[in-house]
């Protein structure tokens, strides 16, 4: 078995932005023989070699697809954080958790399978005031205080670990990504920063960590083609405070007192613009930052975008229409400086 003897890759959730970019990268790589994408909708990306299987992960047909296409690598990206878009929280949980269960059950019975790459999230750590400043991958994600998306991710990771223990010959790579930002990816957070006025919670300033979509795709490609067993936090180094990010975007922000936040979130959700679920409130209060040491040393990846750079690129490429852009600010600074020094010179002259 040569290490590069033609990978046969199954990508779940091929409609997603990252999945599409990953498939395009794998198509261009001659180490990959076949790519099968699973999703209910037709992929939006221009993909030539990728075969599309229109199926839900809970469909037993998935097992047949895996066997028929002689899949040896599964990249599981079909995990969503958006209850509104998935048709409600219970359906979201159904798809996330039960879908993963079915997929891994099918994978376990496939002898050829030697790798599973799982897209997870740093949300498994939760967001609380009594959390450490940096989360290590080993920080045991307790399930007691989680809900919603992070609860799904914790359960999915649990199933993946069970799978790995039953199939010790297969490699499991769990990638805990921070919030994605970039020119094309769309998440609740990107729509949040695109709001004309950004609501924040009065008196709180969470520390945020972002992962640029280009880094995310690069890490996914490497995980697919190389062997990186283990769990890794993936993000750009550094942090931004929410207040700092909003200022960098040149947006006005409105601090909302904590008791009114859920009401406002409900209103915003009604308009359908931001899929903000209540369990994300903790994130807006305390944020979360993963320790990237293991990504750097064990995985051997140095991100192209730090967290501030990822955010700046996001602002620049999305044309977020800042109220005040940086050049204007510098111009104002110079004008104000000239004005004030002229005034100072005038008063000094008068004083004499």
């Amino acid at each position: 078995m040569g290490k590069h003897s033609g990978r046969r890759v199954l990508i779940t959730g091929i409609c997603g932005e990252l999945a599409g970019q990953l498939a395009a990268r794998l198509e261009a790589d001659d180490r990959v023989d076949a790519i099968v994408g699973v999703d209910l909708r037709r992929p939006a990306h221009h993909l030539s070699r990728t075969e599309w299987v229109a199926a839900d992960l809970r469909n037993p047909e998935i097992a047949h697809v895996i066997a028929a296409a002689a899949i040896d690598t599964i990249v599981h990206l079909r995990i969503t954080a958006e209850p509104h878009a998935s048709g409600g929280r219970s359906l979201m949980k159904e798809r996330n958790v039960i879908g993963t269960m079915q997929l891994l059950a099918a994978a376990q019975n496939t002898d050829r399978l030697r790798k599973v790459v799982l897209k997870s999230t740093t949300a498994v750590y939760g967001s609380r005031y009594d959390d450490p400043a940096l989360f290590d991958e080993d920080a045991a994600p307790g399930t007691a205080r989680r809900s919603g998306y992070s609860q799904d991710a914790v359960e999915i990771e649990g199933y993946a670990r069970t799978f790995a223990s039953r199939r010790p010959d297969a490699t499991l790579t769990t990638l805990r990504f921070a919030n994605f930002l970039g020119p094309r990816v769309t998440t609740p957070l990107t729509t949040y920063f695109a709001l004309p006025v950004v609501p924040t919670v009065l008196g709180y300033d969470p520390r945020l960590q972002f992962c640029h979509e280009r880094d995310a795709v690069e890490v996914l490609v490497r995980s697919t083609l190389e062997d990186h067993p283990g769990t890794f936090n993936v993000a750009g180094p550094g942090i931004l405070y929410l207040s700092q990010a909003v200022r960098r975007a040149g947006k006005p922000s409105v601090p909302v007192a904590l008791p009114f936040v859920n009401g406002l979130a409900h209103l915003v959700r009604r308009t359908g613009r931001v899929d903000f679920s209540p369990e994300q409130l903790g994130f807006l209060l305390y944020g979360r930052v993963g320790n990237l040491e293991r990504m750097r040393t064990d995985f051997g990846y140095a991100p192209a975008f730090s967290t501030p750079a990822a955010f700046d690129d996001f602002v620049a490429t999305r044309r977020l229409a800042p109220l005040v852009d940086r050049d204007t600010a510098v111009r104002w600074e110079h004008r104000l400086h000239d004005l004030l020094s002229a005034l100072a010179a005038g008063s000094a002259g008068a004083g004499r």
């Binding site: 005031y129 450490p132 940096l134 300033d205 942090i239 700092q244 200022r247 020094s341």
Partner: protein, 375 residues
């Protein structure tokens, strides 16, 4: 942090009478530094090959933070000797000689803050905000209100990591803020103290983010270990709420020192422990009673009734102007035990007790030399 033997830049006192004899026998004639100190004594730190100790050795260029070069020298230089009379507008920009430059710097600062163009570290420490905004607010308290005298700063290493362990008092943690100012303003290397805060402080709105931005982080083993490994000064107040929320009649009586977590931390990180005694913080809000019912209702560890509060209403929030002394004691070496000693609970208890005794003794000694609470 050095691998074994002596931690960089710290004077080491041997622990225990038996060990003291042995250590003295090992190193019979180690040269001392001998530089005169601010209080008239000579420096007793061990000398480096240059003949001076790590504190008094001339700094190699480039080892201190470059931003420090243009700091005001707040200790002795009165602000009036500024050369330019035109720059009287903004006191904390005093060191910039040309008023035009000062204005440009102020505007540049303002513009960068408003457009988010500044760096914070992963723990949330905003160095610029701390140095330019928060410390200028705390400095008048340090210099004028409590007239803090910082003694023994030469015991704090100039470059390497160390664990600063101090007594806690005063109902509100002003003692932590003053220790921070002392190390930044009066320490020759102008070091930032990274405090390990209680989770309550980080939970509160406004206070929590501000605590993070000024360098606090949660009292959590992993965070603290990483900070120490990065060569930072980490500050702990192991008495916690038992210390800061104690009654006035118990003043200067050290409470239990937590469960010795800080000793484990220092042992694991192999950094020296610098014991610190803070005199004066006990008298800023003399607490006569603790209203348990209200505390439980507000989910606070204590609800203080002090001489001023709530009797004087909002004016009761004003702390009393006691005279403060912060004494930095000789560092306690941990390197001699090795990192695996952190797993030996007996040794950890013993060291915890020793640090507590040392600080208690420093407190009593300094109290005896005090003329009055306020002068």
């Amino acid at each position: 942090m050095t691998q074994a033997g002596r931690p960089a830049g710290a004077d080491v006192i041997p622990l225990g009478p038996r060990r003291r004899g042995a250590a003295a026998g090992d190193e019979p004639a180690r040269a001392r530094c001998g530089e005169p100190l601010a209080d008239g004594r000579t420096c007793r730190n061990y000398a480096e090959p240059s003949g001076l100790c790590r504190v008094h050795e001339p700094e190699e260029p480039g080892t201190t933070a470059p931003a420090r070069a243009d700091r005001p020298a707040p200790a002795t230089v009165p602000p009036r000797i500024r050369p330019s009379p035109g720059a009287a507008s903004d006191p904390h920009l005093a060191p910039v000689p040309d008023p035009g430059d000062a204005l440009a710097a102020a505007l540049d600062f303002l513009r960068r803050r408003l457009t988010g163009d500044y760096d914070v570290d992963v723990y949330g420490f905003d160095r610029e905000l701390t140095e330019q905004v928060i410390l200028p607010l705390a400095r008048p308290l340090y210099r004028r209100y409590w007239r803090v005298r910082a003694v023994g700063l030469e015991h704090v290493p100039a470059r390497s990591g160390a664990l600063i362990v101090a007594n806690h008092a005063g109902t509100l943690p002003f003692d932590a803020i003053m220790t921070k100012v002392a190390l930044l303003d009066d320490h020759p290397a102008h070091r930032h103290l990274r405090e390990l805060a209680a989770d309550l402080a980080l939970r509160l709105p406004v206070i929590g983010p501000m605590a993070r931005k000024t360098g606090n982080t949660l009292a959590h083993g992993d965070d603290a270990r990483r900070l120490l490994a990065a060569g930072e000064l980490v500050g702990v107040w192991p008495e916690g709420f038992k210390g800061i929320g104690k009654l006035y009649r118990d003043r200067y009586k050290l409470q239990r020192f937590g469960r010795g977590g800080f000793v484990e931390l220092a042992l694991r990180a192999q950094v020296p422990i610098v014991p610190v005694a803070i005199i004066g913080a006990e008298e800023i809000y003399p607490m006569v009673a603790d209203v348990r019912v209200l505390a439980r209702l507000l989910r606070l560890p204590y609800f203080p009734v002090t001489w001023q509060f709530p009797l004087l209403g909002p004016a009761g929030l004003l702390p009393l102007p006691s005279k403060w002394v912060i004494v930095f004691g000789e560092p306690i070496d941990t390197a001699r035990y090795g990192p695996e000693a952190a797993d030996d609970p007996m040794l950890v208890f013993e060291l915890t007790d020793r640090v507590r005794t040392v600080i208690q003794r420093m407190l009593y000694r300094t109290l005896m030399g005090r003329r009055s609470i306020f002068f």
